[in-house]
């Protein structure tokens, strides 16, 4: 995918299996939104296509596709229900069905009393809920969500995640762009990590954790932390630390080494590296933070 002389996405190919939730990860400007827009035909890709169920995707009337774009917006001067019914009809629902669905949804997200209110009279979070409602109307087979939690408080974020989870359980395939790594770990089956327009990592969450982080040791301790050939110190603040075992090193050897150097170990927990940690490593921020 080129913009003028600049190539923004190159040699990127990935599969999303039916019914799974796929995480699309990357730092700002890594090409996530551009990729989605190119896949959906909003941008004209230099090369490449989106296949859905083996067929080339063409945006067409009535496609059961739900897309929540990064740039949100609806017809702001229109009443909530009118806008929802309009999009429902565009997605193939009858007027009555669209209105009934919209009222049920508004009830669900505590906006039933706003049905006749103009969209621009709602708060940003309330508008986000309406946008999500429009996205999931008519039970999409493929749900593409670009930073869905953006603008939500923690309570509504949980509500939104529950709704996405319901869609998944109903059989929808979900592609999700997000910076909330805990959500990725909780919801996603597989992920792709995008860096400079290429796939830096691709696979199940566990595969990526194993490949990029492997195991880490979370340590609560007292006393000086020794330098060792057995592990690297990822982070340490005098009472807690995260250690990365070097290749071929067993966690037991590390514990023995620490005790041997007189470290008072209060807690020693081997765990997989978090996606957030991997994210920081991949994008080079980890080193800068440790350096500080």
């Amino acid at each position: 995918m080129d913009f003028g002389s600049q190539t923004v996405i190159r040699d990127l190919s990935f599969d999303v299996h039916a019914g799974e939730t796929f995480g699309f990860l990357g730092s700002n400007g890594s090409g996530k939104t551009t990729t989605l827009r190119a896949l959906l035909g909003i941008y004209q890709p230099t090369a490449g296509v989106l296949h859905i169920g083996g067929k080339v995707f063409e945006p067409r009337d009535g496609a059961r596709l739900g897309y929540l774009p990064e740039e949100r917006g609806l017809y702001k001067k229109e009443p909530v229900l009118d806008v929802m019914v309009y999009f429902g009809r565009l997605k193939g629902l009858s007027r009555d069905a669209a209105a009934a669905w919209s009222r049920t949804y508004l009830e669900r997200v505590s906006l039933a009393d706003k049905a006749t209110t103009r969209l621009d009279k709602l708060s940003g979070g309330q508008q986000q809920k309406i946008q999500l409602g429009v996205t999931i109307m008519n039970d999409p087979e493929l749900l593409i969500l670009d930073e869905p939690t953006q603008g939500f408080d923690p309570v509504n974020r949980r509500l939104l995640m529950d709704i996405i989870d319901e869609q998944k359980r109903a059989g929808a395939t979900v592609i999700m762009v997000t910076h909330q790594m805990d959500e990725v770990e909780r919801l996603c089956d597989r992920v792709v990590l995008l860096k400079d327009g290429t796939a830096e990592a691709y696979g199940t969450v566990e595969d990526v954790q194993d490949k990029y982080g492997g195991t880490v040791v979370r340590l609560l301790y007292a006393g000086p932390l020794p330098t060792s050939d057995l592990f690297d110190v990822i982070s340490a603040d005098g009472s807690s630390a995260e250690l990365a075992p070097r290749a071929g090193t067993d966690e037991t050897e590390i514990l023995r080494e620490l005790l041997g150097h007189g470290v008072a170990v209060r807690s020693f927990t081997p765990a997989r590296t978090s996606l957030e940690e991997i994210f920081l490593r991949v994008y080079g921020i980890q080193n800068e933070l440790v350096g500080v």
Binding site: L40, I42, P59, D61, G62, Y75, V134
Partner: protein, 408 residues
């Protein structure tokens, strides 16, 4: 499904305009103003009628002297006048209020003024002195001629019917010119009233960031065509709203409002001119709609769109600067240029079609040109919206968009 969505788009776009208070405020402002003017004219005319009747019936005393010999005592007496022996005394009588007025008819009223002296009754009522003095003289002159028919002719009250021929057939004259020119009127009203809405029709999707939702839900061609149809419907509602008080006023209050009696049965509908006029109207509307929607898809804000709107509006008025040449010399270079330049073609060709100077071949070329370029402009508008409206906050570089290979 596309058909279903077209209906959905048309319904949504139409209803959300006509259900807004501000639409009716704007649409009704002109009819209300017209109704107010009509009401004032009505009241004023009623008042004038009453005043005229009152003046007609109001007798006043006057004296006169006549050096022309045209004024007869009998006529003057019917108005309440008597002959005065001395002009100076008669003026003095007016000044002291003994009589209301004194008229001094000169020896040659054709070259010399009739002098009128009267007691001041206010600006409007003072007019009666002139009126009576004049009428007495006219009646005297008619009696001198001795024939009502000759008198009528002397006043220019003559009926004339004329018949002209074109290619050996009777031509309809002005009655054949008016009907095809009505298409020009409709074109102007449509573009002036709807132009701004056309320009802004796709801007709303950009400004509200709805573009991506739309592009992944429906075909952009359906959206654009739906918007154009709904705009046309909105325009029709506006025109009906504007025209209704005029039609009601004409039908029910024509005489009270002093409106001319237009006999539509005299108009001649020449099939060729009417068909050509209709096609020029459609083609011109298509071209301007496509162009305005394309501009809307290119620019990020209403304000920026406005800078492109003015030149297009000028284009449709420019032909009127050479209207005298269009009438007198339709083969002049400037007229030919305006006839074929796309954005002046519709107005110039409609004018020439009405005036009967547009040949069938020229009509065909201009109609094909307008429809062809109109479809290209609409196609371009869809393409720009499809691949350009995602540029939410900056003006679209047309060249870069067109360089991209179309997949639409």
């Amino acid at each position: 499904m596309a058909q279903h969505n077209l209906g959905t788009v048309v319904g949504f776009e139409f209803l959300r305009v006509v259900t807004k208070k501000r639409f009716w405020f704007a649409a009704l402002a002109v009819p209300i103003a017209l109704a107010a003017v009509f009401a004032l004219v009505f009241i004023s005319n009623s008042s004038t009628d009453q005043t005229a009747k009152a003046q007609k019936n109001a007798q006043f005393t006057f004296t006169y002297t006549d050096e022309s010999g045209l004024v007869t005592t009998a006529v003057a007496a019917t108005f309440g006048g008597t002959s005065a022996a001395d002009g100076d005394q008669a003026v003095a009588d007016v000044k002291n209020g003994t009589v209301d007025a004194y008229f001094a008819y000169p020896a040659d009223p054709a070259t010399q003024p009739v002098r009128v002296y009267g007691v001041d009754r206010g600006i409007f009522e003072n007019g009666k002195y002139d009126a009576v003095a004049r009428q007495i003289l006219v009646a005297g002159a008619q009696q001198t001629i001795g024939s009502p028919a000759l008198s009528a002719m002397a006043q220019g009250d003559v009926k004339i019917t004329s018949e002209t021929y074109k290619d050996g057939q009777v031509s309809g004259g002005l009655d054949t010119v008016i009907p095809p020119l009505l298409f020009l009127l409709i074109f102007y009203i449509s573009i002036v009233m709807l132009g701004n809405q056309m320009l802004n029709s796709t801007l709303e999707e950009k400004e509200n960031r709805v573009t991506e939702m739309i592009l992944t839900t429906m075909n952009p061609t359906t959206l654009i065509v739906g918007k154009v149809i709904s705009l046309f419907m909105v325009g029709a509602v506006q025109m009906i709203t504007f025209a209704l008080p005029v039609v009601i006023g004409y039908i029910f209050f024509r005489s009270n409002l002093n409106l001319p009696d237009v006999d539509l049965s005299h108009l001649v509908l020449e099939p060729q001119a009417m068909v050509v006029g209709f096609l020029l109207l459609l083609g011109g509307f298509l071209l301007f709609t496509g162009t305005l929607v394309a501009i809307g898809a290119m620019v990020p804000t209403v304000k920026e769109a406005g800078t492109y709107f003015a030149p297009l509006m000028i284009m449709i008025f420019v032909p009127f600067y050479v209207v005298s040449v269009i009438v007198s010399d339709p083969h002049a270079v400037i007229v030919q240029v305006f006839t074929y330049f796309p954005y002046t073609a519709s107005v110039t060709a409609m004018l020439r079609n009405g005036l009967g100077s547009l040949t069938l071949a020229e009509s065909g070329i201009v109609i094909v040109e307008l429809f062809g370029l109109g479809f290209v402009a609409l196609r371009l508008a869809v393409y720009l919206f499809r691949y350009g409206s995602i540029e939410y906050s900056k003006k679209l570089a047309l060249r870069s968009v067109l360089r991209r290979k179309s997949r639409a």
